[in-house]
């Protein structure tokens, strides 16, 4: 028998558009299944932000409460929740880096790469499943927030829009994390890498406290970086315009946040795909 006459068997067609969609769906489901089969992962991922919420609310609430804008309704929890939603969105995106390094180290990525499927499917499936997972974690945190006194000050639609904005931000951040994960490759090393990249953004921001008391140089960064912009957009949507810095509008902050997310995606989607193509595990 010669190579040229080997009959082509069914099911052997190069990846087409519907096939790419299907591959993304298959990978997304596979990643989500891991959260279901190893529930401790999801439980810990949820408990941690809830612990953050409780600690910050009860430890700092009293001290910070007085300095908050009136829009917070005099309650630190109202100020804190929009900030924490974005913080969890950012840290949750770190899951993308972790998941990818785990797949890399187990050789699963090698298998995927040897299959006749679109190479973008692995990254798309990964970021999508993490988006769904983070949506769940954020919703649970919001629920606990409501239980301990959080109330939106605008409208339910504002709250939903705020959640949606946080999810967009989380998705964009996932692509940064995908790039980090593919570059770092090692599941243990990637944890501090994620931490290092997210921590400064989350703390040098308006997540926990208003930025007014920060030194000028830090404030210049804090007021304009994507986490603060997104948090402020959420506060505008959930608490009203009074929660924003003087001169900022809700619509302006929303657009700026979307611009940041779009910019991150425009840079990191192609970058992550490029690194993925060249990744040697």
């Amino acid at each position: 028998m010669t190579g040229a006459t080997v009959p082509t068997k069914p099911g052997r067609v190069a990846a087409s558009a519907p096939q790419t969609t299907r591959a993304i769906t298959v990978i997304t489901k596979r990643n989500l299944l891991r959260n279901i089969r190893l529930p401790q992962l999801l439980i810990l991922a949820t408990v941690q932000p809830i612990m953050f919420l409780l600690l910050f609310n009860y430890v700092f609430g009293g001290a910070i409460g007085g300095t908050l804008p009136d829009a917070a309704g005099g309650e630190y929890i109202n100020w804190l929740i929009p900030g924490l939603l974005v913080q969890v969105a950012a840290f949750g995106a770190g899951q993308t880096a972790l998941g990818l390094t785990e797949d890399l180290s187990k050789g699963v990525i090698e298998r995927f790469r040897s299959l006749p499927m679109a190479r973008s499917a692995v990254l798309a499936g990964r970021t999508l499943s993490d988006l769904i997972r983070n949506g769940l974690v954020i919703s649970l945190m919001l629920l606990v927030g409501v239980l301990i006194g959080f109330r939106y000050q605008t409208s339910f639609a504002g709250l939903v829009a705020g959640m949606a904005l946080a999810m967009v931000f989380s998705f964009a951040f996932s692509w940064i994390m995908a790039t980090i994960g593919l570059l770092v490759k090692n599941p243990e090393a990637v944890q501090p890498a994620v931490f290092l990249s997210v921590f400064p953004l989350v703390f040098a921001s308006s997540v926990f406290v208003p930025t007014q008391t920060m030194p000028g140089w830090l404030r210049a960064f804090a007021d304009n970086q994507p986490v603060t912009v997104t948090v402020d957009a959420l506060r505008g949507l959930i608490l009203g315009e009074g929660a924003l810095l003087p001169g900022n509008s809700v619509v302006g902050q929303i657009l700026l946040s979307l611009f940041y997310s779009g910019l991150i995606l425009a840079i990191f989607v192609p970058l992550a795909v490029r690194v993925y193509r060249r990744t040697v595990s």
């Binding site: 028998m1 010669t2 190579g3 040229a4 080997v6 068997k9 099911g11 052997r12 067609v13 190069a14 990846a15 096939q19 299907r22 591959a23 298959v26 990978i27 596979r30 299944l33 891991r34 089969r37 190893l38 187990k106 050789g107 699963v108 090698e110 298998r111 995927f112 790469r113 040897s114 299959l115 006749p116 499927m117 499917a121 040697v280």
Partner: protein, 333 residues
């Protein structure tokens, strides 16, 4: 030789600017055979497989699988190949069946097709009973077999198996051998790597010996053995009978018997194979010598390796020098 289904030409791959993992490797072989890639740790076996399965780009050279240029058209190449890597690439939180079905879906099979294909393959690799358990409850060998099943989902023309039996117990190892042989009977071509000399010897139709990135020999197992000559007889006797034994052997053999100074094992060439063995037994018997150990050994690939590379395939245990015909794992120097 028939039209080659795998053709590798002048492949070079260097890691980190210094480690020459593949050094101008050229080989080709026809469809429908088992091709064995034999070499110690770090020889470059996995690297060659990764080049052929589109996972790694070499610095230079050409590679063709099933008529497709792997480097120019990796997409099409991926529709022709199946890969079971050196380490099982399966999800431990999915069941065996889910793992195989997932690969089927990623190949573009429908849900129903994937399901029936998975059932069929799990049956074939003897995992049907464990199919609905999560893989984390599988033993290492079961995971390797599952990985093998996953590599078969796409009915590949050329199947690449990187050390398919490492970490598998002897009985399952025979099962895997049988599976591979069956696949080849069904028209699949298999390229497998191994560190086990007897595995290459028994399984592969052709063998390439590779060491430090270089192809040092290529041919059938018999071709390789021809470089060594015929079989030998090995025996050992009580120390006080050694002189007598050597005398008895000299009477029937043309060549001077050799004696290993360490193991005291006596070796004579078995010029006429089993016939020589019978003569030896008779000679010993008439001299009333009862050997402690007596065996006819065909030269093994181990000996071939020693001859070709000039360095020994190190032995796993602290055993005395290599003797022919034993199963042994190659290690890098």
């Amino acid at each position: 030789m028939a039209y080659p289904i795998v053709r590798v030409e002048g492949i070079n791959k260097t890691f980190g600017g210094t480690v020459k993992a593949l050094d101008d490797v050229t080989l080709e072989f026809p469809a429908g055979i088992i091709y064995g890639l034999l070499g110690p740790n770090g020889a470059g076996k996995t690297t060659l497989i990764r080049v052929l399965t589109t996972l790694l780009r070499p610095e230079s050279g050409r590679a063709e699988v099933a008529g497709v240029d792997v480097l120019a058209d990796p997409k099409t190449a991926r529709t022709k190949i199946g890969l079971a890597g050196q380490f099982a690439a399966v999800d431990d939180y999915q069941t065996g069946r889910e793992n195989v079905e997932m690969v089927g879906r990623l190949y573009g099979l429908s849900a129903a097709q994937s399901k029936s294909r998975a059932g069929e393959l799990l049956e074939r690799i003897n995992l049907a009973d464990a199919a609905d358990r999560q893989v984390k409850t599988y033993s290492g060998g079961m995971q390797r077999r599952l990985d093998l099943a996953a590599s078969l989902v796409g009915e590949p023309e050329v199947l690449f198996l990187d050390e398919p039996t490492t970490g598998i117990d002897p009985r399952s190892r025979l099962d895997v051998w049988e599976l591979i042989t069956d696949l080849v009977k069904g028209g699949t071509t298999v390229l497998l790597t191994t560190q086990y000399l007897d595995e290459a010897d028994q399984l592969a139709d052709r063998i390439a010996v590779i060491d430090e990135g270089r192809l040092i020999s290529e041919g059938t197992s018999d071709d390789l053995k021809d470089t060594l000559g015929g079989s030998v007889i090995e025996l050992s006797v009580a120390p006080d009978r050694e002189t007598e034994t050597l005398e008895a052997l000299r009477r029937i053999c043309e060549t001077e018997p050799t004696i290993n100074t360490l193991t005291r094992e006596i070796t004579v060439p078995a010029v006429e194979g089993a016939k020589t063995l019978t003569e030896v037994v008779r000679a010993l018997d008439s001299a009333s010598i009862v050997p402690n150990d007596l065996a006819l050994h065909k030269p093994s690939l181990d000996d071939v390796f020693l001859t070709l590379t000039g360095h020994t395939a190190e032995v796993e245990t602290e055993e005395p020098p290599p003797s022919a015909g034993r199963k042994r794992r190659l290690r890098s120097k």
